[in-house]
Symmetry: C2
Subunit: 327 residues, 2 copies
Protein backbone atom coordinates (compact mmCIF):
# COMPACT_ATOMS: atom_id res chain seq x y z
CA UNK A 1 0.00 0.00 0.00
CA UNK A 2 1.18 3.50 -0.84
CA UNK A 3 1.52 6.51 1.41
CA UNK A 4 -1.64 8.43 2.13
CA UNK A 5 -2.58 11.80 3.56
CA UNK A 6 -5.53 12.89 5.64
CA UNK A 7 -7.72 15.93 5.15
CA UNK A 8 -10.13 17.37 7.69
CA UNK A 9 -12.91 19.75 6.68
CA UNK A 10 -14.32 21.56 9.71
CA UNK A 11 -17.74 22.94 8.79
CA UNK A 12 -20.34 24.65 10.94
CA UNK A 13 -22.70 21.70 10.30
CA UNK A 14 -20.55 18.70 9.38
CA UNK A 15 -17.09 17.48 10.18
CA UNK A 16 -15.54 15.45 7.39
CA UNK A 17 -12.33 13.48 7.51
CA UNK A 18 -10.90 11.52 4.59
CA UNK A 19 -7.75 9.69 3.52
CA UNK A 20 -6.35 10.22 0.00
CA UNK A 21 -3.61 8.60 -2.04
CA UNK A 22 -0.78 10.74 -3.38
CA UNK A 23 -2.69 10.83 -6.69
CA UNK A 24 -5.62 12.35 -4.73
CA UNK A 25 -7.81 9.29 -5.01
CA UNK A 26 -10.08 9.05 -1.97
CA UNK A 27 -9.52 5.89 0.07
CA UNK A 28 -11.97 6.29 2.92
CA UNK A 29 -14.09 9.06 4.46
CA UNK A 30 -15.95 9.74 7.69
CA UNK A 31 -18.68 12.37 8.04
CA UNK A 32 -20.14 13.28 11.42
CA UNK A 33 -22.11 16.25 12.71
CA UNK A 34 -20.01 19.08 14.13
CA UNK A 35 -20.96 19.19 17.80
CA UNK A 36 -20.61 22.96 18.01
CA UNK A 37 -22.88 23.16 21.06
CA UNK A 38 -20.63 20.76 23.00
CA UNK A 39 -17.65 23.07 22.56
CA UNK A 40 -14.20 22.90 20.98
CA UNK A 41 -12.96 20.02 23.15
CA UNK A 42 -15.71 17.68 21.95
CA UNK A 43 -15.14 18.60 18.30
CA UNK A 44 -11.38 18.16 18.60
CA UNK A 45 -11.94 14.74 20.22
CA UNK A 46 -14.29 13.72 17.40
CA UNK A 47 -11.70 14.78 14.82
CA UNK A 48 -8.93 12.84 16.49
CA UNK A 49 -11.04 9.69 16.89
CA UNK A 50 -11.90 9.79 13.19
CA UNK A 51 -8.28 10.41 12.21
CA UNK A 52 -7.12 7.43 14.29
CA UNK A 53 -9.79 5.24 12.70
CA UNK A 54 -8.68 6.24 9.20
CA UNK A 55 -5.01 5.75 10.01
CA UNK A 56 -5.76 2.29 11.40
CA UNK A 57 -7.80 1.42 8.30
CA UNK A 58 -5.34 2.81 5.72
CA UNK A 59 -2.09 2.14 7.47
CA UNK A 60 -1.50 -1.45 6.33
CA UNK A 61 1.87 -1.12 4.69
CA UNK A 62 1.41 2.59 3.89
CA UNK A 63 2.59 5.63 5.82
CA UNK A 64 0.71 8.71 6.88
CA UNK A 65 2.50 11.29 4.72
CA UNK A 66 0.81 14.36 6.16
CA UNK A 67 -2.33 15.89 7.55
CA UNK A 68 -4.16 19.14 6.84
CA UNK A 69 -7.28 20.88 8.11
CA UNK A 70 -9.51 23.40 6.36
CA UNK A 71 -11.49 25.67 8.66
CA UNK A 72 -13.93 28.53 8.28
CA UNK A 73 -12.24 31.89 8.81
CA UNK A 74 -11.22 34.29 10.00
CA UNK A 75 -8.11 32.48 10.99
CA UNK A 76 -4.56 33.52 11.76
CA UNK A 77 -2.01 31.70 9.61
CA UNK A 78 0.35 29.88 9.65
CA UNK A 79 -0.23 29.71 13.43
CA UNK A 80 -3.64 28.09 12.82
CA UNK A 81 -5.50 30.10 15.43
CA UNK A 82 -9.21 30.77 14.94
CA UNK A 83 -10.25 34.38 15.43
CA UNK A 84 -14.01 34.94 15.67
CA UNK A 85 -15.63 32.45 13.24
CA UNK A 86 -19.30 33.44 12.81
CA UNK A 87 -20.40 29.82 12.18
CA UNK A 88 -18.54 28.32 15.15
CA UNK A 89 -19.80 30.17 18.24
CA UNK A 90 -17.71 29.30 21.28
CA UNK A 91 -14.63 28.54 19.18
CA UNK A 92 -13.17 32.05 19.38
CA UNK A 93 -9.38 32.16 19.58
CA UNK A 94 -9.13 28.36 19.52
CA UNK A 95 -5.56 27.19 18.82
CA UNK A 96 -6.67 24.64 16.23
CA UNK A 97 -3.21 23.62 15.05
CA UNK A 98 -1.62 23.47 18.50
CA UNK A 99 -4.52 21.54 20.05
CA UNK A 100 -4.67 18.98 17.24
CA UNK A 101 -0.93 18.42 17.24
CA UNK A 102 -0.94 17.98 21.02
CA UNK A 103 -3.62 15.29 20.73
CA UNK A 104 -2.32 13.53 17.61
CA UNK A 105 1.42 13.99 18.00
CA UNK A 106 1.87 14.65 14.25
CA UNK A 107 2.23 17.96 12.40
CA UNK A 108 -1.06 19.41 11.12
CA UNK A 109 -1.23 22.21 8.54
CA UNK A 110 -4.23 24.47 9.13
CA UNK A 111 -5.67 26.60 6.35
CA UNK A 112 -8.79 28.63 5.50
CA UNK A 113 -11.40 26.39 3.87
CA UNK A 114 -11.59 28.67 0.82
CA UNK A 115 -7.81 28.48 0.38
CA UNK A 116 -7.90 24.68 0.70
CA UNK A 117 -10.62 24.52 -1.97
CA UNK A 118 -8.55 26.73 -4.26
CA UNK A 119 -5.52 24.49 -3.77
CA UNK A 120 -7.57 21.42 -4.70
CA UNK A 121 -8.96 23.11 -7.82
CA UNK A 122 -5.40 24.05 -8.76
CA UNK A 123 -3.88 20.57 -8.46
CA UNK A 124 -6.85 18.31 -9.17
CA UNK A 125 -9.60 20.40 -10.76
CA UNK A 126 -9.71 23.31 -13.21
CA UNK A 127 -6.01 24.06 -12.78
CA UNK A 128 -5.00 20.51 -13.54
CA UNK A 129 -7.23 20.28 -16.62
CA UNK A 130 -5.96 23.60 -17.91
CA UNK A 131 -2.37 22.98 -16.85
CA UNK A 132 -2.30 26.31 -14.98
CA UNK A 133 -0.81 26.70 -11.51
CA UNK A 134 -1.81 30.30 -10.69
CA UNK A 135 -5.45 31.05 -10.03
CA UNK A 136 -7.94 32.82 -7.86
CA UNK A 137 -11.01 30.89 -6.77
CA UNK A 138 -14.20 32.53 -5.50
CA UNK A 139 -16.50 30.27 -3.49
CA UNK A 140 -20.09 31.56 -3.59
CA UNK A 141 -21.95 30.03 -0.65
CA UNK A 142 -23.45 31.46 2.53
CA UNK A 143 -20.70 34.06 2.15
CA UNK A 144 -18.12 34.64 -0.57
CA UNK A 145 -14.80 33.01 0.21
CA UNK A 146 -11.74 33.14 -1.95
CA UNK A 147 -8.25 31.82 -2.27
CA UNK A 148 -5.22 32.88 -4.29
CA UNK A 149 -2.80 30.26 -5.62
CA UNK A 150 0.50 31.52 -7.04
CA UNK A 151 2.57 28.92 -8.88
CA UNK A 152 0.81 26.08 -7.12
CA UNK A 153 1.00 27.46 -3.57
CA UNK A 154 -1.49 29.35 -1.39
CA UNK A 155 -0.65 33.04 -1.01
CA UNK A 156 -1.27 33.96 2.65
CA UNK A 157 -0.29 37.56 2.93
CA UNK A 158 1.03 38.56 6.34
CA UNK A 159 -1.74 37.22 8.55
CA UNK A 160 -3.44 34.60 6.43
CA UNK A 161 -6.00 37.12 5.24
CA UNK A 162 -5.06 37.26 1.55
CA UNK A 163 -7.82 36.48 -0.90
CA UNK A 164 -10.68 37.94 1.09
CA UNK A 165 -12.29 38.90 -2.20
CA UNK A 166 -15.73 38.57 -0.59
CA UNK A 167 -14.93 41.79 1.23
CA UNK A 168 -13.66 43.75 -1.73
CA UNK A 169 -15.87 46.83 -2.09
CA UNK A 170 -17.68 46.56 -5.43
CA UNK A 171 -20.23 49.34 -4.90
CA UNK A 172 -18.84 52.21 -2.84
CA UNK A 173 -21.30 53.05 -0.09
CA UNK A 174 -23.43 50.02 -0.97
CA UNK A 175 -25.15 47.46 1.26
CA UNK A 176 -23.92 47.01 4.83
CA UNK A 177 -21.89 43.82 5.22
CA UNK A 178 -21.49 41.60 8.27
CA UNK A 179 -17.85 42.67 8.40
CA UNK A 180 -18.97 46.19 9.26
CA UNK A 181 -18.19 47.85 5.93
CA UNK A 182 -20.34 48.68 2.92
CA UNK A 183 -20.68 47.39 -0.63
CA UNK A 184 -18.68 44.15 -0.23
CA UNK A 185 -18.92 41.57 -3.04
CA UNK A 186 -20.41 39.12 -0.52
CA UNK A 187 -23.51 41.30 -0.23
CA UNK A 188 -24.27 40.80 -3.93
CA UNK A 189 -22.95 37.40 -4.99
CA UNK A 190 -23.49 35.00 -2.06
CA UNK A 191 -26.39 32.55 -1.80
CA UNK A 192 -27.57 34.65 1.16
CA UNK A 193 -27.64 37.80 -0.96
CA UNK A 194 -29.54 36.02 -3.74
CA UNK A 195 -32.15 34.63 -1.34
CA UNK A 196 -32.58 38.09 0.21
CA UNK A 197 -33.10 39.64 -3.21
CA UNK A 198 -35.69 36.93 -3.94
CA UNK A 199 -37.52 37.61 -0.70
CA UNK A 200 -37.66 41.32 -1.51
CA UNK A 201 -39.07 40.41 -4.90
CA UNK A 202 -41.98 38.46 -3.44
CA UNK A 203 -42.93 41.42 -1.28
CA UNK A 204 -43.58 43.41 -4.40
CA UNK A 205 -45.60 40.68 -6.12
CA UNK A 206 -49.30 39.99 -5.75
CA UNK A 207 -48.72 36.25 -5.53
CA UNK A 208 -45.84 34.20 -4.16
CA UNK A 209 -44.94 31.35 -6.45
CA UNK A 210 -41.71 30.35 -4.75
CA UNK A 211 -42.37 28.38 -1.54
CA UNK A 212 -39.16 28.60 0.50
CA UNK A 213 -36.98 31.16 -1.19
CA UNK A 214 -33.37 30.15 -1.71
CA UNK A 215 -30.68 30.95 -4.26
CA UNK A 216 -31.59 27.64 -5.88
CA UNK A 217 -35.35 28.26 -6.05
CA UNK A 218 -34.67 31.63 -7.67
CA UNK A 219 -32.38 29.94 -10.18
CA UNK A 220 -35.14 27.46 -10.99
CA UNK A 221 -37.62 30.30 -11.45
CA UNK A 222 -35.17 32.10 -13.72
CA UNK A 223 -34.61 28.98 -15.80
CA UNK A 224 -38.40 28.59 -16.06
CA UNK A 225 -38.54 32.03 -17.65
CA UNK A 226 -39.17 34.39 -14.75
CA UNK A 227 -37.48 37.60 -15.86
CA UNK A 228 -37.28 39.19 -12.40
CA UNK A 229 -35.48 36.12 -11.07
CA UNK A 230 -33.13 36.29 -14.03
CA UNK A 231 -32.50 39.93 -13.19
CA UNK A 232 -31.33 38.89 -9.71
CA UNK A 233 -28.71 36.67 -11.31
CA UNK A 234 -27.76 39.49 -13.71
CA UNK A 235 -26.94 41.54 -10.60
CA UNK A 236 -24.87 38.64 -9.22
CA UNK A 237 -22.96 38.54 -12.50
CA UNK A 238 -22.38 42.30 -12.53
CA UNK A 239 -21.02 42.30 -8.96
CA UNK A 240 -18.79 39.32 -9.75
CA UNK A 241 -17.55 41.06 -12.89
CA UNK A 242 -16.62 44.19 -10.92
CA UNK A 243 -14.77 42.11 -8.32
CA UNK A 244 -13.04 40.05 -11.00
CA UNK A 245 -12.03 43.22 -12.86
CA UNK A 246 -10.21 44.35 -9.70
CA UNK A 247 -8.55 40.96 -9.36
CA UNK A 248 -7.48 40.98 -13.01
CA UNK A 249 -5.96 44.45 -12.70
CA UNK A 250 -4.15 43.69 -9.47
CA UNK A 251 -3.18 40.05 -9.55
CA UNK A 252 -3.12 39.31 -13.26
CA UNK A 253 -3.38 35.57 -12.72
CA UNK A 254 -4.57 33.82 -15.89
CA UNK A 255 -7.29 31.70 -14.28
CA UNK A 256 -10.35 32.50 -12.15
CA UNK A 257 -12.52 29.69 -10.80
CA UNK A 258 -16.07 30.17 -9.50
CA UNK A 259 -17.17 27.54 -6.99
CA UNK A 260 -19.70 27.05 -4.21
CA UNK A 261 -23.39 26.25 -4.51
CA UNK A 262 -24.21 29.39 -6.51
CA UNK A 263 -21.78 28.31 -9.27
CA UNK A 264 -24.41 25.75 -10.36
CA UNK A 265 -26.31 28.75 -11.78
CA UNK A 266 -23.31 29.61 -14.02
CA UNK A 267 -25.46 30.00 -17.15
CA UNK A 268 -27.64 32.53 -15.34
CA UNK A 269 -24.89 34.85 -14.08
CA UNK A 270 -21.96 34.27 -16.47
CA UNK A 271 -23.18 36.51 -19.35
CA UNK A 272 -23.46 39.58 -17.08
CA UNK A 273 -20.17 38.66 -15.37
CA UNK A 274 -18.26 38.48 -18.66
CA UNK A 275 -19.94 41.67 -19.91
CA UNK A 276 -18.86 43.55 -16.78
CA UNK A 277 -15.31 42.18 -17.00
CA UNK A 278 -15.18 43.40 -20.59
CA UNK A 279 -16.50 46.80 -19.53
CA UNK A 280 -14.76 47.18 -16.20
CA UNK A 281 -11.24 45.83 -16.54
CA UNK A 282 -8.32 47.31 -18.37
CA UNK A 283 -8.79 44.19 -20.30
CA UNK A 284 -6.16 41.50 -20.41
CA UNK A 285 -7.38 39.41 -23.27
CA UNK A 286 -10.48 37.97 -21.69
CA UNK A 287 -11.30 34.70 -23.35
CA UNK A 288 -14.28 32.39 -22.96
CA UNK A 289 -13.39 28.82 -23.89
CA UNK A 290 -16.15 26.29 -23.17
CA UNK A 291 -14.16 24.23 -20.67
CA UNK A 292 -10.80 24.06 -18.89
CA UNK A 293 -9.33 21.67 -21.46
CA UNK A 294 -9.58 24.56 -23.93
CA UNK A 295 -7.81 26.97 -21.55
CA UNK A 296 -5.92 29.65 -23.46
CA UNK A 297 -2.47 30.42 -22.10
CA UNK A 298 -1.60 34.13 -22.12
CA UNK A 299 -5.23 35.14 -21.65
CA UNK A 300 -7.67 35.68 -18.78
CA UNK A 301 -9.77 32.53 -18.35
CA UNK A 302 -12.82 32.12 -16.07
CA UNK A 303 -14.43 28.73 -15.40
CA UNK A 304 -16.86 27.14 -12.96
CA UNK A 305 -15.20 24.84 -10.40
CA UNK A 306 -14.75 21.19 -11.29
CA UNK A 307 -14.58 19.45 -7.93
CA UNK A 308 -17.85 20.31 -6.21
CA UNK A 309 -18.36 20.59 -2.45
CA UNK A 310 -15.53 18.16 -1.59
CA UNK A 311 -12.78 20.44 -2.85
CA UNK A 312 -12.08 21.80 0.65
CA UNK A 313 -11.64 18.28 2.04
CA UNK A 314 -9.26 17.24 -0.74
CA UNK A 315 -7.39 20.56 -0.50
CA UNK A 316 -6.87 19.99 3.23
CA UNK A 317 -5.19 16.66 2.47
CA UNK A 318 -2.95 18.43 -0.08
CA UNK A 319 -1.74 21.07 2.38
CA UNK A 320 1.34 19.21 3.66
CA UNK A 321 2.65 18.94 0.08
CA UNK A 322 2.43 22.52 -1.11
CA UNK A 323 3.96 24.90 1.38
CA UNK A 324 2.08 28.18 1.58
CA UNK A 325 3.64 31.53 0.74
CA UNK A 326 3.52 34.15 3.47
CA UNK A 327 4.93 37.64 3.49
CA UNK B 1 36.86 48.43 -7.36
CA UNK B 2 33.77 46.36 -6.66
CA UNK B 3 31.21 45.02 -9.09
CA UNK B 4 28.57 47.44 -10.27
CA UNK B 5 25.21 47.28 -12.04
CA UNK B 6 23.56 49.63 -14.48
CA UNK B 7 20.00 50.89 -14.43
CA UNK B 8 18.22 52.61 -17.31
CA UNK B 9 15.07 54.66 -16.76
CA UNK B 10 13.27 55.27 -20.04
CA UNK B 11 10.91 58.21 -19.59
CA UNK B 12 8.79 60.07 -22.11
CA UNK B 13 10.88 63.21 -21.47
CA UNK B 14 14.23 62.06 -20.11
CA UNK B 15 16.45 59.06 -20.48
CA UNK B 16 18.51 58.35 -17.37
CA UNK B 17 21.31 55.83 -17.04
CA UNK B 18 23.28 55.23 -13.85
CA UNK B 19 25.78 52.82 -12.33
CA UNK B 20 25.31 51.58 -8.75
CA UNK B 21 27.42 49.56 -6.33
CA UNK B 22 26.03 46.34 -4.89
CA UNK B 23 25.07 48.39 -1.80
CA UNK B 24 23.02 50.62 -4.14
CA UNK B 25 25.30 53.58 -3.84
CA UNK B 26 25.20 55.62 -7.05
CA UNK B 27 28.58 55.84 -8.79
CA UNK B 28 27.80 57.85 -11.88
CA UNK B 29 24.74 58.99 -13.84
CA UNK B 30 23.89 60.34 -17.28
CA UNK B 31 20.65 62.17 -18.10
CA UNK B 32 19.73 63.06 -21.67
CA UNK B 33 16.48 64.01 -23.38
CA UNK B 34 14.52 61.09 -24.79
CA UNK B 35 14.53 61.71 -28.56
CA UNK B 36 11.05 60.28 -29.00
CA UNK B 37 10.53 62.17 -32.27
CA UNK B 38 13.65 60.56 -33.79
CA UNK B 39 12.22 57.11 -33.25
CA UNK B 40 13.17 53.97 -31.33
CA UNK B 41 16.50 53.45 -33.15
CA UNK B 42 17.86 56.83 -32.02
CA UNK B 43 16.75 56.29 -28.43
CA UNK B 44 18.24 52.79 -28.33
CA UNK B 45 21.52 54.17 -29.72
CA UNK B 46 21.55 56.91 -27.06
CA UNK B 47 20.98 54.32 -24.34
CA UNK B 48 23.78 52.12 -25.58
CA UNK B 49 26.26 54.99 -25.94
CA UNK B 50 25.53 56.06 -22.34
CA UNK B 51 25.86 52.49 -21.07
CA UNK B 52 29.23 52.07 -22.80
CA UNK B 53 30.43 55.36 -21.33
CA UNK B 54 29.43 54.28 -17.80
CA UNK B 55 31.00 50.85 -18.23
CA UNK B 56 34.24 52.46 -19.40
CA UNK B 57 34.17 54.89 -16.48
CA UNK B 58 33.28 52.33 -13.78
CA UNK B 59 35.01 49.28 -15.15
CA UNK B 60 38.48 49.84 -13.72
CA UNK B 61 38.91 46.62 -11.78
CA UNK B 62 35.14 46.08 -11.31
CA UNK B 63 32.78 43.95 -13.31
CA UNK B 64 29.41 44.78 -14.77
CA UNK B 65 27.24 42.48 -12.64
CA UNK B 66 23.99 43.13 -14.47
CA UNK B 67 21.77 45.59 -16.29
CA UNK B 68 18.10 46.46 -16.03
CA UNK B 69 15.69 48.84 -17.71
CA UNK B 70 12.49 50.39 -16.41
CA UNK B 71 10.02 51.45 -19.06
CA UNK B 72 6.57 53.01 -19.14
CA UNK B 73 3.89 50.39 -19.77
CA UNK B 74 1.99 48.66 -21.04
CA UNK B 75 4.69 46.14 -21.58
CA UNK B 76 4.75 42.38 -22.06
CA UNK B 77 6.96 40.62 -19.54
CA UNK B 78 9.36 38.89 -19.22
CA UNK B 79 9.76 39.22 -23.01
CA UNK B 80 10.31 42.98 -22.61
CA UNK B 81 8.14 43.99 -25.54
CA UNK B 82 6.42 47.38 -25.46
CA UNK B 83 2.74 47.30 -26.36
CA UNK B 84 1.19 50.74 -26.99
CA UNK B 85 2.87 53.17 -24.56
CA UNK B 86 0.86 56.44 -24.55
CA UNK B 87 3.94 58.56 -23.75
CA UNK B 88 6.20 57.00 -26.39
CA UNK B 89 4.40 57.42 -29.73
CA UNK B 90 6.14 55.47 -32.48
CA UNK B 91 7.49 52.89 -30.03
CA UNK B 92 4.55 50.49 -30.36
CA UNK B 93 5.52 46.82 -30.20
CA UNK B 94 9.22 47.65 -29.80
CA UNK B 95 11.24 44.62 -28.67
CA UNK B 96 13.11 46.60 -26.00
CA UNK B 97 14.91 43.68 -24.41
CA UNK B 98 15.86 41.95 -27.66
CA UNK B 99 17.05 45.16 -29.34
CA UNK B 100 19.17 46.23 -26.36
CA UNK B 101 20.73 42.81 -25.95
CA UNK B 102 21.54 42.67 -29.66
CA UNK B 103 23.35 46.00 -29.44
CA UNK B 104 25.09 45.51 -26.08
CA UNK B 105 25.71 41.76 -26.13
CA UNK B 106 24.83 41.43 -22.43
CA UNK B 107 21.57 40.28 -20.80
CA UNK B 108 19.13 43.10 -19.98
CA UNK B 109 16.15 42.64 -17.65
CA UNK B 110 13.21 44.83 -18.71
CA UNK B 111 10.49 45.80 -16.27
CA UNK B 112 7.61 48.26 -15.89
CA UNK B 113 8.86 51.51 -14.35
CA UNK B 114 6.32 51.27 -11.52
CA UNK B 115 7.51 47.74 -10.70
CA UNK B 116 11.14 48.88 -10.73
CA UNK B 117 10.28 51.73 -8.35
CA UNK B 118 8.50 49.29 -6.03
CA UNK B 119 11.53 46.99 -6.05
CA UNK B 120 13.80 49.90 -5.09
CA UNK B 121 11.49 50.98 -2.25
CA UNK B 122 11.48 47.37 -1.05
CA UNK B 123 15.24 46.88 -0.92
CA UNK B 124 16.53 50.41 -0.35
CA UNK B 125 13.60 52.57 0.79
CA UNK B 126 10.55 52.04 2.99
CA UNK B 127 10.89 48.24 2.87
CA UNK B 128 14.47 48.34 4.01
CA UNK B 129 13.77 50.77 6.86
CA UNK B 130 10.81 48.71 8.01
CA UNK B 131 12.49 45.36 7.35
CA UNK B 132 9.53 44.22 5.27
CA UNK B 133 9.91 42.42 1.92
CA UNK B 134 6.29 42.31 0.73
CA UNK B 135 4.65 45.52 -0.34
CA UNK B 136 2.48 47.24 -2.87
CA UNK B 137 3.59 50.64 -4.11
CA UNK B 138 1.27 53.14 -5.82
CA UNK B 139 3.00 55.83 -7.87
CA UNK B 140 0.79 58.91 -8.23
CA UNK B 141 2.03 60.88 -11.21
CA UNK B 142 0.58 61.69 -14.63
CA UNK B 143 -1.20 58.36 -14.19
CA UNK B 144 -1.31 55.93 -11.29
CA UNK B 145 1.23 53.15 -11.60
CA UNK B 146 1.72 50.36 -9.16
CA UNK B 147 3.92 47.41 -8.39
CA UNK B 148 3.53 44.37 -6.15
CA UNK B 149 6.57 42.89 -4.40
CA UNK B 150 6.14 39.50 -2.73
CA UNK B 151 8.99 38.38 -0.50
CA UNK B 152 11.40 40.73 -2.23
CA UNK B 153 10.51 39.90 -5.82
CA UNK B 154 8.23 41.59 -8.37
CA UNK B 155 4.98 39.69 -8.96
CA UNK B 156 4.30 39.76 -12.71
CA UNK B 157 1.15 37.78 -13.20
CA UNK B 158 0.91 35.99 -16.51
CA UNK B 159 1.63 38.83 -18.87
CA UNK B 160 3.45 41.36 -16.75
CA UNK B 161 0.23 43.19 -16.01
CA UNK B 162 -0.01 42.53 -12.27
CA UNK B 163 -0.30 45.56 -10.05
CA UNK B 164 -2.26 47.75 -12.42
CA UNK B 165 -3.96 49.25 -9.40
CA UNK B 166 -4.42 52.51 -11.32
CA UNK B 167 -7.10 50.71 -13.29
CA UNK B 168 -8.92 49.15 -10.37
CA UNK B 169 -12.51 50.44 -10.48
CA UNK B 170 -13.08 52.49 -7.34
CA UNK B 171 -16.38 54.10 -8.34
CA UNK B 172 -18.54 51.80 -10.45
CA UNK B 173 -19.75 53.71 -13.48
CA UNK B 174 -17.51 56.68 -12.61
CA UNK B 175 -15.31 58.88 -14.81
CA UNK B 176 -14.19 57.56 -18.19
CA UNK B 177 -10.54 56.49 -18.12
CA UNK B 178 -7.99 56.49 -20.94
CA UNK B 179 -7.99 52.68 -20.76
CA UNK B 180 -11.57 52.70 -22.01
CA UNK B 181 -13.29 51.74 -18.75
CA UNK B 182 -14.98 53.81 -16.05
CA UNK B 183 -14.21 54.77 -12.47
CA UNK B 184 -10.52 53.74 -12.41
CA UNK B 185 -8.40 54.91 -9.44
CA UNK B 186 -6.21 56.84 -11.92
CA UNK B 187 -9.12 59.17 -12.67
CA UNK B 188 -9.24 60.31 -9.04
CA UNK B 189 -5.73 60.09 -7.60
CA UNK B 190 -3.29 61.07 -10.36
CA UNK B 191 -1.72 64.51 -10.72
CA UNK B 192 -3.74 64.81 -13.94
CA UNK B 193 -6.98 64.18 -12.08
CA UNK B 194 -6.09 66.70 -9.38
CA UNK B 195 -5.23 69.39 -11.93
CA UNK B 196 -8.49 68.73 -13.77
CA UNK B 197 -10.47 69.05 -10.55
CA UNK B 198 -8.65 72.34 -9.87
CA UNK B 199 -9.45 73.65 -13.33
CA UNK B 200 -13.10 72.82 -12.81
CA UNK B 201 -12.98 74.67 -9.53
CA UNK B 202 -11.72 77.91 -11.09
CA UNK B 203 -14.57 77.82 -13.61
CA UNK B 204 -16.98 78.10 -10.71
CA UNK B 205 -15.09 80.95 -9.05
CA UNK B 206 -15.37 84.65 -9.73
CA UNK B 207 -11.61 85.10 -9.56
CA UNK B 208 -8.73 82.86 -10.44
CA UNK B 209 -6.02 82.97 -7.82
CA UNK B 210 -4.01 80.05 -9.15
CA UNK B 211 -1.97 80.94 -12.24
CA UNK B 212 -1.16 77.65 -13.98
CA UNK B 213 -3.20 74.99 -12.27
CA UNK B 214 -1.31 71.86 -11.31
CA UNK B 215 -1.59 69.25 -8.58
CA UNK B 216 1.15 71.17 -6.82
CA UNK B 217 -0.48 74.61 -7.06
CA UNK B 218 -3.69 73.13 -5.65
CA UNK B 219 -1.71 71.59 -2.80
CA UNK B 220 -0.18 74.98 -2.08
CA UNK B 221 -3.61 76.63 -2.07
CA UNK B 222 -4.90 73.93 0.27
CA UNK B 223 -1.98 74.41 2.63
CA UNK B 224 -2.67 78.17 2.55
CA UNK B 225 -6.15 77.44 3.86
CA UNK B 226 -8.30 77.17 0.72
CA UNK B 227 -11.03 74.74 1.73
CA UNK B 228 -12.12 73.86 -1.81
CA UNK B 229 -8.56 72.89 -2.71
CA UNK B 230 -8.37 70.81 0.46
CA UNK B 231 -11.61 69.13 -0.60
CA UNK B 232 -9.93 68.05 -3.86
CA UNK B 233 -7.26 66.27 -1.83
CA UNK B 234 -9.94 64.75 0.41
CA UNK B 235 -11.36 63.17 -2.75
CA UNK B 236 -7.88 61.90 -3.69
CA UNK B 237 -7.59 60.35 -0.23
CA UNK B 238 -11.02 58.73 -0.44
CA UNK B 239 -10.29 57.16 -3.84
CA UNK B 240 -6.91 55.93 -2.60
CA UNK B 241 -8.56 54.50 0.50
CA UNK B 242 -11.08 52.56 -1.60
CA UNK B 243 -8.32 51.19 -3.84
CA UNK B 244 -6.15 50.31 -0.84
CA UNK B 245 -9.10 48.59 0.85
CA UNK B 246 -9.35 46.31 -2.19
CA UNK B 247 -5.62 45.65 -2.09
CA UNK B 248 -5.71 44.90 1.63
CA UNK B 249 -8.59 42.44 1.23
CA UNK B 250 -7.05 40.67 -1.74
CA UNK B 251 -3.30 40.79 -1.27
CA UNK B 252 -2.95 41.22 2.47
CA UNK B 253 0.62 42.47 2.19
CA UNK B 254 1.63 44.34 5.35
CA UNK B 255 3.07 47.42 3.64
CA UNK B 256 1.69 49.96 1.16
CA UNK B 257 3.91 52.74 -0.18
CA UNK B 258 2.59 55.90 -1.85
CA UNK B 259 5.07 57.50 -4.25
CA UNK B 260 5.13 59.85 -7.24
CA UNK B 261 4.86 63.63 -7.23
CA UNK B 262 1.44 63.67 -5.57
CA UNK B 263 2.85 61.87 -2.52
CA UNK B 264 4.46 65.18 -1.49
CA UNK B 265 0.93 66.24 -0.52
CA UNK B 266 0.70 63.31 1.95
CA UNK B 267 -0.59 65.47 4.81
CA UNK B 268 -3.42 66.72 2.59
CA UNK B 269 -4.76 63.35 1.44
CA UNK B 270 -3.64 60.90 4.15
CA UNK B 271 -6.41 61.63 6.70
CA UNK B 272 -9.19 60.87 4.18
CA UNK B 273 -7.23 57.86 2.90
CA UNK B 274 -6.87 56.33 6.36
CA UNK B 275 -10.50 57.12 7.19
CA UNK B 276 -11.69 55.33 4.05
CA UNK B 277 -9.43 52.34 4.72
CA UNK B 278 -10.92 52.13 8.19
CA UNK B 279 -14.42 52.36 6.76
CA UNK B 280 -13.97 50.33 3.60
CA UNK B 281 -11.75 47.38 4.37
CA UNK B 282 -12.55 44.30 6.38
CA UNK B 283 -9.90 45.76 8.48
CA UNK B 284 -6.62 44.04 9.06
CA UNK B 285 -5.24 45.99 11.95
CA UNK B 286 -4.54 49.24 10.19
CA UNK B 287 -1.82 51.10 12.00
CA UNK B 288 -0.38 54.58 11.50
CA UNK B 289 3.17 54.81 12.76
CA UNK B 290 4.90 58.08 11.97
CA UNK B 291 7.67 56.58 9.86
CA UNK B 292 8.94 53.27 8.46
CA UNK B 293 11.37 52.75 11.33
CA UNK B 294 8.28 52.36 13.54
CA UNK B 295 6.72 49.81 11.18
CA UNK B 296 4.46 47.37 13.05
CA UNK B 297 4.82 43.75 11.98
CA UNK B 298 1.52 41.87 11.81
CA UNK B 299 -0.41 45.02 10.90
CA UNK B 300 -1.29 46.99 7.77
CA UNK B 301 1.18 49.86 7.38
CA UNK B 302 0.97 52.73 4.85
CA UNK B 303 3.84 55.17 4.27
CA UNK B 304 4.94 57.77 1.73
CA UNK B 305 7.84 56.65 -0.47
CA UNK B 306 11.38 57.31 0.75
CA UNK B 307 13.43 57.40 -2.45
CA UNK B 308 11.87 60.17 -4.53
CA UNK B 309 11.86 60.29 -8.33
CA UNK B 310 15.04 58.20 -8.70
CA UNK B 311 13.48 55.02 -7.36
CA UNK B 312 12.75 53.71 -10.86
CA UNK B 313 16.37 54.19 -11.92
CA UNK B 314 17.73 52.40 -8.85
CA UNK B 315 15.10 49.65 -9.16
CA UNK B 316 16.17 49.07 -12.77
CA UNK B 317 19.75 48.45 -11.58
CA UNK B 318 18.41 45.99 -8.98
CA UNK B 319 16.46 43.91 -11.50
CA UNK B 320 19.22 41.42 -12.32
CA UNK B 321 19.49 40.51 -8.64
CA UNK B 322 15.87 39.77 -7.75
CA UNK B 323 14.28 37.44 -10.25
CA UNK B 324 10.63 38.29 -10.88
CA UNK B 325 7.79 35.90 -10.14
CA UNK B 326 5.51 35.07 -13.06
CA UNK B 327 2.56 32.73 -13.20
Amino acid sequence: MNDFSIGIDLGGTNLRIAAFTSEWYRLEAITIPTRVQDGPGAVLDDMCAAVRKLVAGCGGGGNLAGMGLGSPGPLELPSGRLLTPPNLPGFERLELKTELEKRLQVPVIVECDANAAALAECHAGVGRKSNCLSLCMLTLGTGVGSGIILNGRVWHGFAGMAGEAGHVPVYHGGLLCGCGTHGCLEQYASATAIARAGQELTHTRTHNGFGTITARSIAEAALAGDTESQRIYDCVGEALGIGLASLVSMLNVPLYVIGGGVAAAWDLFAPAMFAEMDRGSYIYRLTRPANPAEYEAGKTNVFPAELGPDSGLLGAAMLPFFQSLSS
